[in-house]
């Protein structure tokens, strides 16, 4: 898992490694400086040698300057490596999400993807920054201090070495207890995020049902759960400090006791160059070295705890990173669509894969290029599912779908989706101006082309009336234009792709009949070669089509022209009758 994440380090591997090297320099200085300081006192002050004091002082200052340089370099490089790593992680995740197919998207909730790209990455980034800084520093300090202690008295060093496992054992125990709680807590975190998101999106519903208190309770209860779980975790982690203190103080006292014996009894030093026997001065050094050892251990355990704490974040990130799209480009993809003909051959489809309930059963259809096809069917008759197979938003469970005579699975995805434009039932505009939104269809479209497309989608007149016209800023999701206006903008956006196949999934439901008719008219006039698939509720939207498909319960019930269906298809006739009563002519 860690390996998977570290792959994202890339160009920041160098600063990361440099940080470690620089840290080595800094830690070296950090050890050198106290030794020199000791000299300053032991030699300079002991001999009242002012000259020596000034000389050593100058050396110390130059050391400090060097150390400062290392420190600066470490700060800059560490920040670069850490934030760079975080940046790459976010980018890699986002890139991978972009490759997700519809079924991948169905799997992750929006709110969880958001927490993963921000909160989780921040966690991992902080851990990483700390790790690269401490990874070198702490072990080096530890080793140095142990060696120094050993040099003076290997027996005392043994005490210290014995203390280390005790410390770690305690901390590992804590980590083991805490870890499973983390994954639970993160799920709740997602849930909280989800509640906020739904409230933001559905604020009109909340307010009109006067459910502010209800939502508040809902939020408070998840917020309380989060509180309880996090408190539990932190309560357990609260043991870490006392455990460390216990070991530190305990071993200090032990060393003092034993050290006192050694000093009084004149215990010999391990290596003679530090003097013959342990003196009070050496005892002081030993105690400060043992403190250093334990501090280093504390540092290590802090890294450890942070890694434990961010492990769940790591898991969540690598889950996104290693999610493989269910729809992949074929090995040798076709780049060109011959024409806009569409063919369904024995297509079965289920959202749940092989075992799931079939949403489409045994669909056979042949749609010639350039045809206008209406699709009619009741709510839940799988109309949308049917058309989503054409730009390969989902893969068929059985059978095949062909566009321009070639199986959609053989196309380059980009080429296929460029050729097949689709206006989804759930239209979304993005925050930005109208022009910017239009350029989603064709980034290189000239202003004139955009005006033209908007005109074809009958959107020009209402835009002309807006104060900022084509530069009007659209709020997120298009909340500042009405449903009908949004639909027309979405149609224009799709038209700009100049597709071979245009699919409108119930995209004119909020547009009035007359405007709908105008849009249909411009389709006929301006894009005659494009195959047009129109899912609609209104018979008037489809009655002039070359062929009309009647869907019922996941199967094709009938195919024919308006007249044919009117005569032979009871469902179609029923729909027609239900609309005749109110619409159009006045007779009953």
């Amino acid at each position: 898992m860690v390996k998977r994440l570290l792959k994202s380090l890339r160009e920041f591997r160098r600063p990361a490694i440099l940080t470690m090297i620089v840290m080595l320099g800094e830690v070296g200085m950090e050890m050198l400086i106290p030794l020199k300081m000791a000299d300053l006192i032991d030699i300079g002050f002991a001999n009242a040698d002012l000259q020596y004091i000034v000389k050593t002082g100058l050396i110390l200052i130059s050391f400090a300057v060097v150390s400062l340089c290392f420190g600066f370099a470490g700060a800059v490089l560490g920040a670069k490596a850490g934030t760079g790593f975080g940046k790459n992680l976010r980018e890699d995740m986002f890139r991978n999400v972009q490759t997700f197919s519809f079924s991948n998207i169905d799997k992750f909730s929006t709110s969880s993807l958001i927490t993963r790209t921000t909160t989780d990455v921040t966690n991992v980034q902080n851990t990483f920054t700390m790790a690269i800084k401490m990874a070198v520093r702490t072990p080096v300090t530890l080793l140095f201090a142990i060696i120094m202690t050993m040099v003076i008295s290997w027996k005392i060093a043994l005490i210290m070495i014995a203390a280390i496992p005790v410390l770690f054992a305690g901390l590992i125990l804590l980590a083991k207890k805490v870890f499973p709680m983390f994954s639970r807590v993160f799920k709740k975190y997602d849930r909280m995020n989800n509640i906020v998101q739904e409230n933001l999106r559905g604020i009109r519903v909340v307010k009109s049902f006067v459910r502010e208190d209800y939502e508040r309770d809902k939020f408070n209860s998840i917020s309380n759960e989060l509180f309880r779980d996090f408190s539990k975790i932190e309560k357990i982690l609260a043991w870490a400090g006392p455990i460390m203190m216990f070991v530190v103080y305990g071993s200090m006292l032990l060393v003092a006791w034993i050290g006192a014996h050694y000093v009084v009894n004149g215990e010999p030093v391990t290596f003679a160059f530090m003097g013959d026997v342990i003196t009070t001065g050496l005892l002081t050094s030993i105690i400060s070295y043992s403190l250093q050892i334990l501090m280093a251990c504390m540092g290590l355990s802090m890294i450890f705890v942070m890694i434990i704490m961010s492990r769940e974040s790591m898991r969540r990130i690598s889950e996104v990173l290693s999610e493989e799209t269910t729809i992949k480009n074929p090995a040798d993809p076709a780049k060109e669509t011959r024409d806009g003909s569409i063919e369904f051959r024995g297509v079965d489809f289920s959202y749940g894969g092989e075992e799931g309930n079939l949403c489409l059963r045994d669909v056979d259809l042949m749609i010639p290029s350039g045809a206008t096809v209406g699709i009619i069917g009741g709510t839940g008759s799988s109309k949308s599912t049917l058309v989503q197979l054409i730009p390969r938003l989902y893969d068929v469970t059985d059978g095949e779908v062909r566009v321009g005579g070639t199986d959609v699975r053989k196309y380059d995805l980009k080429a296929l989706r460029d050729a097949v434009a689709m206006v989804l039932q759930k239209n979304v505009l993005f925050s930005g101006t109208i022009m910017e939104n239009m350029r989603w269809g064709d980034p290189n479209a000239s202003d004139e082309e955009i005006y033209h497309a908007l005109k074809l989608a009958a959107a020009d007149s209402f835009i002309e009336e807006l104060p900022d016209k084509y530069e009007t800023h659209i709020e997120q999701g298009g909340s500042n234009v009405s449903g009908g206006q949004r639909q027309r903008l979405c149609i224009a956006r799709a038209l700009l792709k100049k597709p071979k196949v245009l699919i409108l999934d119930d995209s004119t439901s909020a547009v009035d009949t007359a405007t709908d008719a105008r849009i249909q008219q411009s389709f006929r006039e301006y894009i005659p070669e494009t195959t047009k698939l129109i899912i609609a509720q209104r018979i008037s939207s489809v009655q002039d089509s070359d062929m009309i498909i009647v869907m019922d319960g996941g199967t094709v019930n009938a195919v024919g022209t308006h007249e044919e269906l009117l005569h032979k298809n009871p469902i179609y006739r029923e729909v027609y009758e239900s609309q005749r009563k109110g619409d159009g002519s006045d007779d009953r």
């Binding site: 002012l50 906020v196 759930k426 239209n427 007359a514 405007t515 609309q579």
Partner: protein
């Protein structure tokens, strides 16, 4: 400018602390623990010297190990340390819970406040940015509360103790140290100012990125359909790089603080040593709090030790400024949200269940009677009741969302109880706006709107909205089971009532066909349901609420006409005895209305029944016959 900024930050800090003060008792307990712990720290630092000077040196000089007194001393130390450990433990536990409590309080307050904000707020802020307040911004507070504040208290104590010890050693040298500390503080403020600026930027950028990710991932299907993955990624990379840039600068400055402080400390050490040596060699008198004496080398050495631990502690404080600055950046964003002006509600009239006597007098009662009354307060503190009938009138209403663009002009209309009023007009004519004014999502600029003769301004918003059922074209459901979603309209509804409502909306059939029926869990975006199915649920949700007035804004636009015909029966039943406002494109939905208003550019151009309007041969007639194209 910096001055002003810092003052602002103090305000934020004060507000954060006010949350801490909600837990006074625990704060006090924690404070005691921290003090004990800090004192133990000081003791442990001094214990070593004492141990050597008082016990080991005499024993070494005597050449005989005498364990008794030493053991006693170590025993006392052990007890003190144990007290320290215990204090630390208690303190950690208290802070662990307190930190989480405060985070919870802040989140809850934020959410509560968010619920009171006007619709406008939700229109102009990207959702992801707002969500960032609940996660990234609140998180920054955690570190501040759980680590920084306890640290600050404990360092303050250490500083105090060391400072006093220094004064005892030498006043001159202490003054020098103070001077130096002042210098260090200046440097700290400089660096913290820089990193603070970038931390603020970082939090803003995280918010922006969050907003972008939320928007794009919510619209991921559109991104796919338009092959827009590359462009979206490019835009993301831009946001991401900006965030990384701000965050890199913030962190770089922040981590410079440590080395700078440490090495300034070294510099001070050297200067002090030299100064001390000079003072000694020239035999200058030494001023201490206890009097004037001669400065000895021994005093200088011990002073040097003290000054080291002093600057180290100050350094520690400096390190904490980062956490403070970052938390302040987050907290400020949080408080900004909390300071957003809430929806104004000056209404005093409330809605109550009532019982109607034979003579028409109303009495308030607790139980559900299906008779509602407006409870209107009188000046003398008593109330009178007006029966809720559903009589809605607008007179000469003008409205605009933004100042220069009038959306509605001089709208006058009345809906008598039980009437069905329809709005027809091209998209953008102002139909939805009219309904947004009735339930006061927005407030009018000119004219009057009354409800049963009471100006809507005087009715408490909650009461007003409870009396209005709204079905919107864009259906927003909530994560939960289908049953829960329908029950949203009436929280106390029984399972039978839920199913009844679903049947009325003709949703029962498709729900029953789902493998888990009413217990099927749907997510908020409802990706597992079709748009039409969602609309049916939304109708069921409104139906169960049983409001006296209903607003149906393109409520059936995504439902196929065959299903609509089936729903129609239910809808008719739903509309019976209710005042209903209908917005629809399908004239079939509108046709049997009591009055139809044709809106154009925010003005009512025609009104009347279907027959009257047809007879009038105006716009409606043209529209109906298809001769006129709505635009």
């Amino acid at each position: 400018m910096t001055d002003k900024k810092q003052k602002m930050d103090f305000k934020v800090l004060k507000r954060v602390l006010s949350y801490l003060l909600r837990y006074k008792l625990r704060c006090a307990a924690a404070f005691v623990c921290i003090v004990i712990n800090a004192l133990v720290g000081v003791v442990s630092a001094m214990a070593l010297g004492t141990l050597i000077d008082r016990y080991i040196v005499p024993m070494a000089e005597a050449g005989r190990f005498d364990g008794g007194p030493l053991l006693g001393f170590i025993g006392v130390l052990a007890l003190i340390f144990l007290a320290g450990i215990f204090a630390q433990f208690v303190n950690s536990r208290i802070f662990a819970v307190m930190t989480q409590s405060i985070q919870r309080d802040i989140r809850n307050d934020m959410f509560s406040h968010m619920q009171t904000l006007p619709i406008k707020y939700f229109d102009v802020n990207t959702y992801g940015d707002v969500m960032s307040h609940y996660t990234n911004d609140t998180d920054t507070l955690r570190q501040l509360l759980s680590q920084t504040i306890p640290n600050l208290v404990s360092t303050a104590i250490t500083i105090l103790v060391t400072f006093v010890s220094m004064l005892i050693s030498s006043v001159w040298m202490t003054l020098f140290v103070l001077l130096f500390v002042f210098l260090m503080m200046q440097v700290t403020i400089r660096i913290a100012g820089k990193s603070g600026k970038y931390f603020t930027e970082q939090q803003e950028r995280i918010g922006e990125l969050n907003g972008f990710v939320e928007e794009m991932i919510s619209g991921q299907r559109v991104v796919k359909v338009f092959n827009h993955e590359e462009e979206t990624t490019e835009a993301f990379v831009k946001f991401n790089n900006e965030l990384a840039g701000a965050s890199r600068r913030a962190n770089a400055f922040a981590s410079m603080m440590g080395p700078v402080m440490m090495n300034l400390g070294h510099l001070q050490y050297v200067l002090l040593a030299v100064m001390g040596a000079i003072l000694v060699s020239f035999k200058l008198p030494n001023l201490t709090v206890t009097g004037i004496s001669l400065l000895t080398l021994g005093t200088v050495v011990s002073f040097l030790q003290l000054s080291r631990s002093f600057t180290q502690t100050v350094n520690n404080v400096a390190q904490q400024t980062n956490a403070i600055v970052m938390a302040m950046a987050g907290a400020k964003r949080v408080f900004d949200l909390m300071d957003e002006a809430p929806e104004e509600d000056e209404g005093t009239v409330t809605l109550v269940n009532a019982r109607e006597a034979a003579d028409g007098t109303l009495t308030e009662c607790e139980e559900l009677t299906h008779t509602w009354a407006w409870k209107v307060p009188k000046k003398d503190g008593t109330y009178f009741y007006i029966k809720l009938e559903g009589d809605v009138r607008m007179s000469h209403v003008d409205f605009s969302y933004v100042e220069d663009k009038q959306v509605l002009k001089d709208i006058t209309l009345y809906a008598e109880p039980g009437q069905k009023v329809a709005f027809v007009g091209s998209t953008g004519a102002g139909k939805t706006t009219v309904t947004n004014l009735i339930n006061r999502f927005y407030d009018i600029q000119q004219g009057d709107i009354t409800y049963d003769g009471i100006p809507v301004r005087d009715i408490r918003k909650g009461a007003l909205r409870k009396s209005l059922g709204i079905v919107l074209q864009d259906v927003n459901l909530f994560t939960g089971t289908i049953r829960e979603n329908i029950r949203y309209g009436k929280l106390g509804a029984s399972d039978e009532e839920v199913e009844e409502a679903a049947k009325l909306a003709n949703a029962h059939d498709f729900i029953s066909r789902l493998p888990e029926g009413y217990e099927t869990v749907i997510d908020g975006t409802g990706s597992n349901l079709s748009q039409g199915q969602r609309q049916l649920l939304s109708i069921a949700r409104a139906a169960i609420a049983d409001p006296p007035v209903m607003i149906l804004d393109e409520a059936t636009s995504s439902i196929d006409t065959r299903t609509e015909a089936l729903v129609q029966h239910g809808m008719d039943k739903l509309m019976q005895n209710r005042t209903v406002f209908v917005i629809a494109h399908r004239l079939s939905t509108v046709r049997n209305s009591d009055v139809i208003m044709v809106l154009e550019h925010g003005v009512i151009i025609e009104r009347g029944t279907h027959e009257q309007l047809i007879a009038e041969r105006g716009k409606y007639y043209q529209l109906y016959t298809g001769a006129f194209e709505l635009e």
